[in-house]
């Protein structure tokens, strides 16, 4: 009944003459490992490869064994494909989920030099030396060799290769949604749940990972609903749901995470199936859902049987075989053997016969099955071997024959001589496992079902309900009724009047859902020498590995999992979990529910990083803040540095200048003529209210109540542990109105800090804080010629020291622009911090530069600012402080009020440990050789010749060459430093150079008397 024996038709040799949901009018071409094949629209890559007789699609992770397509769904552990070209390459995509599109390009993975001839397969030959936890055991000694081992292990480890071109050209989106009812899975019971909830008027989102709704109904040819083929009922249900405004239907959408308070994440593959992404559409879209109620209709996974060679290409899950025949119109083989411990595989056997495949036999491990399906198979003349098992699927790159033997169904021991059945397809079934991954992620509990041999949902942590097969209800009619009921209940819980949608009349084969409890056939070979029987195909974990782990003392299922890697990584135990538990239980002579189960983790199936990141990449990953003068800095060749979220002009190199040259020139100019700094990034907080002064009095260490209007004061903020947190100048704009400045990086944190204290500790104070950082542009003009430039710009207020003294401010006009001028100084020179409404910032800056040109005004960046303040011994919070430094440690006792009842940090400073002599204290350093610049972070010692480990005194916090002093200067936090003035310390160098010798000094290196402040 195959379509044709000719090799040239487009759909593949193994394509059936009719049937399937593929579009035979739309033939497509695709390549796999460079070879071109034909398929149809509606195929998956897996079904198209099988149609072309290609089963060998990859090599396994550890042993590099040949592997084929085992499933027809997202649980596929073997057929992991590298898809796409160039920057669009994506590794480890399941062939069973790749929808075929024109000119699709795919490659097999984990093989070298080729899939058919793979050198890594030598691992398989030496497999007896690669048992469970091989790496842990082998590479432990000698420890010194680990670095050597690691190199080779890293090379061999990892599955698949990512694109080497990292510029993913695709766009990804994220969206948030709220819904009354989220239904996960659009199979029979999921559709029923959506119908119930949708008809009640609830907002419903129905998400299904496949390209069409219907789930396993699409793969059953022996089932009718209301007297018609199942797809007719599906089409009606989908049409009704799509017509409802309150229902959102999402295909190709995997719910991959289930978190607290019914928060779920899903990935919609919007255009992956098109090959080319249309410009206006994203490739994938991540949904973040908050649902009032969740209905989990995820269905089941069929379990593989555990026998030798169960991983060989051509050995497939029974339900997958049925799916390829019915849904894709493909025969996965020409001569088949069905092997099972339950009824369901008989439906596959009948489908194989109906499709014209030569069915050699059904091997049934059960002793005397007498169900309608068994009778039907016998009636149709199929050979049925009961109390038999498949012992070994033999072959090289494809199964060639099945070794079959009579067994004792009680213990799996072989009781008769083996015989062989030639075949190229083995359909296996060990029963069905409800998919409880999301239920488990949401901390739902499970109960063991001793009849159906599976875990079923028992109690729920979130507002959720598992339905149908994922609730352990395998009968189709019952499952649909279960879905209808849960949908109605969910809608009711969300405040709607829900009633159960009426389930259709189901006509399907009557089945016994109790598989035989036999987890592993006892091999007739010596332990360890027999053919490998796999449990976890993706991680290459065999039955022997599990047994070995138990023998070695790992009795907890969580330990066995980690020791053998069973159920880890992307597979998350979809096909392996129950088989592993069964073998552990056997080995411990205990029951599966006592062994317990591991917790399923997110994601259900892998989610792309692109989707998780969405648009938050590159420039949008973390916003960069720039000032209004930014473009000017760029135009004048500035280099920039990160300060918090800001990019600040660092220095302005002229042609041929190094960084050092530029900084030295800028520093010198600010002291000899005039320098201009863009200080717009400083944090600025507007504080007002009748208790504003009292509030400042409590958050700063010094006194604020009597600061006159129009004056400015420097303040230091501590945390309540007494450690310096931030500093800045605050000015009194009015009786109840202040303008606070903070460090650039600390602005947001300080505002939060003030709010916290106001809201939580002193709510009785009437005070309001508003960030005004971005409302002002600030140009800081500094240097002996500053006043001349100000006058030239037509400053509207007199600038003499009597009218406009240091630490005061004036509202004025300058160059015709409205400004607020603060006479404060971070350089020690005569200095004006000129604030103007932000939008006028660039105009003001340009005016100042133009007026200053005749004086040689020089723009300077943050590096020069650092040097200038270090010359004066001014601290920078975060550089001289690190959260363990008090004002006293900094030698700033003068700013700490002795009179105030309280301020943040006061009690902490009174602790005995705060006044110890050996605290690290801030001192200045002058090097013996004025050209030596001590690296910041260097540690000080008294004697550089003492044996190691040396006794450290402390570390350098700031260190520069001062062009104005013509020597190197530094600041350091040294133990007991304040009492060591004039002493010599050494800084051993890690690069082998001789230690740098320095003398401890005061920190005010330049103009210690402050005579320059008035110009």
């Amino acid at each position: 009944m195959f379509k044709s024996s000719s090799k040239n038709h487009s759909g593949g040799d193994m394509r059936l003459a009719s049937g399937g949901r593929i579009n035979r009018d739309k033939p497509l071409q695709f390549t796999f490992d460079g070879k071109t094949y034909g398929g149809y629209e509606g195929d998956t890559l897996a079904s198209a490869l099988i149609a072309n007789g290609v089963h060998l699609v990859g090599r396994s992770f550890k042993y590099h064994r040949p592997r084929g397509i085992m499933t027809a769904g997202s649980e596929e552990p073997n057929a992991l494909i590298r898809l796409g070209e160039g920057a669009k390459i994506e590794p480890n995509i399941r062939a069973t989920q790749i929808e075929l599109y024109p000119n699709l390009k795919s490659e097999s993975q984990n093989r070298w030099p080729s899939l058919n001839f793979d050198l890594g397969a030598v691992n398989s030959v030496v497999a007896r030396m690669l048992p469970a936890a091989f790496y842990y055991k082998t590479f432990m000694w000698p420890a010194s060799m680990w670095m050597t081992y690691e190199h080779f292990i890293r090379k061999a480890a990892g599955l698949g290769k990512a694109a080497t071109d990292h510029n993913d050209p695709d766009r990804y989106e994220k969206t948030n949604a709220h819904t009354d009812v989220l239904v996960v899975g659009g199979g029979a019971s999921g559709l029923m749940a959506a119908l119930s909830a949708g008809r009640a008027g609830a907002r419903v989102i129905l998400a299904d990972e496949q390209n069409e709704f219907g789930g396993w109904l699409l793969s059953e040819s022996d089932t009718t609903l209301d007297g018609h083929a199942a797809d007719r009922w599906i089409a009606d249900a989908v049409a009704e749901l799509e017509a409802m405004d309150n229902v959102t239907m999402l295909k190709r959408t995997t719910v991959f995470g289930y978190m607290d308070h019914n928060y779920l994440t899903m990935m919609e593959r919007v255009t992956d199936h098109l090959g080319e992404t249309p410009k206006h559409m994203p490739r994938q879209k991540m949904w973040k859902i908050r649902a009032k109620h969740v209905v989990l209709a995820q269905g089941t996974h069929e379990r593989p049987l555990v026998f030798g060679g169960n991983d060989r290409p051509g050995v497939m899950l029974s339900s997958a075989v049925r799916s390829y025949i019915t849904r894709y119109g493909v025969a996965p083989g020409r001569r088949a053997v069905v092997v099972t411990n339950n009824d369901d595989a008989y439906r596959t056997a009948l489908a194989l016969v109906d499709a014209g495949v030569y069915l050699r036999a059904i091997i049934d491990m059960r002793p005397a099955p007498a169900t309608p399906l068994v009778s039907e198979a016998m009636r149709r003349g199929i050979n049925v071997y009961t109390s038999h098992a498949l012992v070994d699927a033999e072959g090289t790159r494809h199964v060639g024959r099945a070794k079959v033997a009579r067994i004792n169904p009680k213990d799996g021991s072989i009781t008769g001589d083996a015989f062989y059945l030639d075949c190229d397809l083995v359909a296996m079934s060990a029963g069905f496992t409800p998919i409880v991954n999301l239920h488990s992620q949401a901390r739902g509990k499970l109960d063991w079902d001793d009849q159906q041999l599976c875990f079923r949902p028992s109690t729920y942590h979130e507002a959720a309900q598992c339905v149908g097969a994922s609730n352990g209800i395998f009968d189709l009619g019952d499952a649909m009724a279960d879905g209808a009921k849960a949908g109605a209940a969910a809608a009711t819980a969300a405040g709607f009047k829900g009633s159960d949608a009426k389930a259709p009349q189901v006509d399907a084969p009557v089945q016994d859902y109790r598989p035989l409890a036999l987890w592993k056939v006892v091999s007739d070979a010596n332990p360890g020498a027999g053919p490998k029987a796999f449990i976890d195909f993706q991680n290459d974990v065999t039955a022997s590995d599990i047994k070995l782990a138990v023998r070695e003392g790992y009795h907890s299922v969580e330990h066995v999992k980690r020791y053998t890697t069973n159920g880890m990584a992307t597979d998350q135990g979809k096909t392996s979990n129950i088989n592993a538990l069964g073998i552990i239980a056997d080995q411990l002579d205990d029951k599966i529910p006592n062994v317990g189960t591991t917790t399923f983790r997110m994601p259900y199936t892998p989610a792309s990083f692109g989707g998780i990141a969405g648009r938050e990449i590159k420039g949008l990953f973390d916003p960069i803040r720039g000032t209004r003068m930014d473009q000017w800095h760029h135009d004048h060749g500035a280099t920039f540095e990160h300060v918090g979220q800001w990019m600040r002009a660092w220095y302005y190199p002229q042609s041929g200048e190094s960084m050092d040259d530029a900084v030295q020139r800028e520093v010198k100019a600010a002291r000899t003529t005039a320098g201009l700094l863009d200080a717009s990034t400083l944090g600025k907080i507007d504080i007002r209210g009748k208790d504003a002064a009292e509030f400042l009095n409590r958050v700063y260490t010094n006194a604020w109540l009597k600061l006159p209007v129009g004056r400015c004061r420097y303040g230091l903020m501590l945390k309540d542990d007494g450690m310096v947190m931030d500093d800045g100048v605050t000015s009194r704009l009015g009786e109840n109105h202040f303008h606070m400045t903070t460090t650039t990086g600390g602005a947001a944190g300080v505002l939060d800090w003030l709010e916290e204290w106001h809201q939580t500790e002193w709510p009785e104070l009437e005070v309001y804080m508003t960030s005004v950082t971005e409302q002002w542009s600030v140009s800081t003009l500094s240097g002996p010629n500053a006043k001349k430039i100000m006058n030239k710009l037509g400053c509207s207020v007199p600038l003499d020291d009597e009218n406009f003294p240091f630490m005061s401010f004036k509202d004025a006009t300058l160059a015709g622009l409205p400004v607020r001028i603060f006479r404060i100084s971070f350089t020690g020179e005569l200095s004006y911090e000129i604030n103007t409404p932000a939008r006028l910032g660039l105009a003001l800056w340009k005016n100042i530069m133009a007026a200053g040109e005749e004086f040689g005004i020089t723009p300077y960046g943050t590096e020069a600012m650092h040097v200038l303040r270090a010359e004066k011994g001014f601290i920078i919070v975060g550089q001289e402080t690190d959260g363990s430094v008090t004002p006293q440690d900094l030698g700033m006792d003068w700013i700490v009020s002795k009179k105030k009842d309280d301020y943040i940090g006061k009690r902490a400073l009174e602790r005995a440990s705060m006044s110890l002599d050996n605290r690290k204290q801030l001192v200045g350093l002058v090097t013996e050789n004025p050209k030596d610049i001590i690296p910041e972070g260097a540690h000080a010692v008294l004697d550089p010749n003492q044996p190691m480990p040396m006794e450290m005194l402390g570390q350098v916090t700031s260190s520069y060459y001062s062009p104005n002093l013509g020597k190197s200067i530094a600041m350091a936090l040294l133990k007991g430093g304040h009492k060591m003035m004039g002493e010599t310390v050494y800084f051993p160098m890690i690069d082998g150079q001789p230690p740098i010798k320095a003398t401890i000094t005061d920190t005010a290196f330049y103009d210690p008397k402050g005579e320059k402040i008035n110009g």
Binding site: D752, R907, R911
Partner: protein, 122 residues
């Protein structure tokens, strides 16, 4: 991710909020004399309760207001949300408040201002 009902803005995602740690830690005033050890208890010791816990939260990416929360740290159930400066009203919240070791410690007693009490007494 928690779904938190801000008392000022309504239900919002957890990522709009920051947790400010344990609630109801009274700050001893510097005017009151307590030992360094008693002060250190206030400054450094924080509970890490398994079960019902009283916490401070802030709607950082919203109204920036602080509030208190009674939360079960095991089930992540939010039992009660109540304003700053008030005590929990739920049974579980009250029990957790009373059971806290801080009640009636020297640090807590020192949070009462001496002078203002004297002034009010005049």
């Amino acid at each position: 991710m928690l779904n938190i009902s801000c008392p000022f803005c309504g239900e919002r995602e957890e990522l709009e909020f920051t947790c400010g740690g344990e609630a109801h830690i009274a700050r001893p005033l510097a005017e009151n004399q307590i030992t360094d050890a008693e002060f250190a208890d206030y400054l450094f010791l924080r509970d890490n309760t398994k079960g019902v816990f009283l916490e401070r939260w802030r709607h950082a990416a919203g109204c920036r207001r602080w509030f208190n929360m009674v939360r079960d740290t095991v089930s992540h159930e939010i039992i009660e949300i109540y304003p700053m400066g008030e005590l929990p009203k739920s049974k579980q919240g009250k029990a957790a408040y009373e059971a806290c070791w801080r009640r009636n410690t020297a640090a807590e007693a020192a949070a009462m201002p001496k002078k203002s009490r004297a002034k009010k007494g005049k």
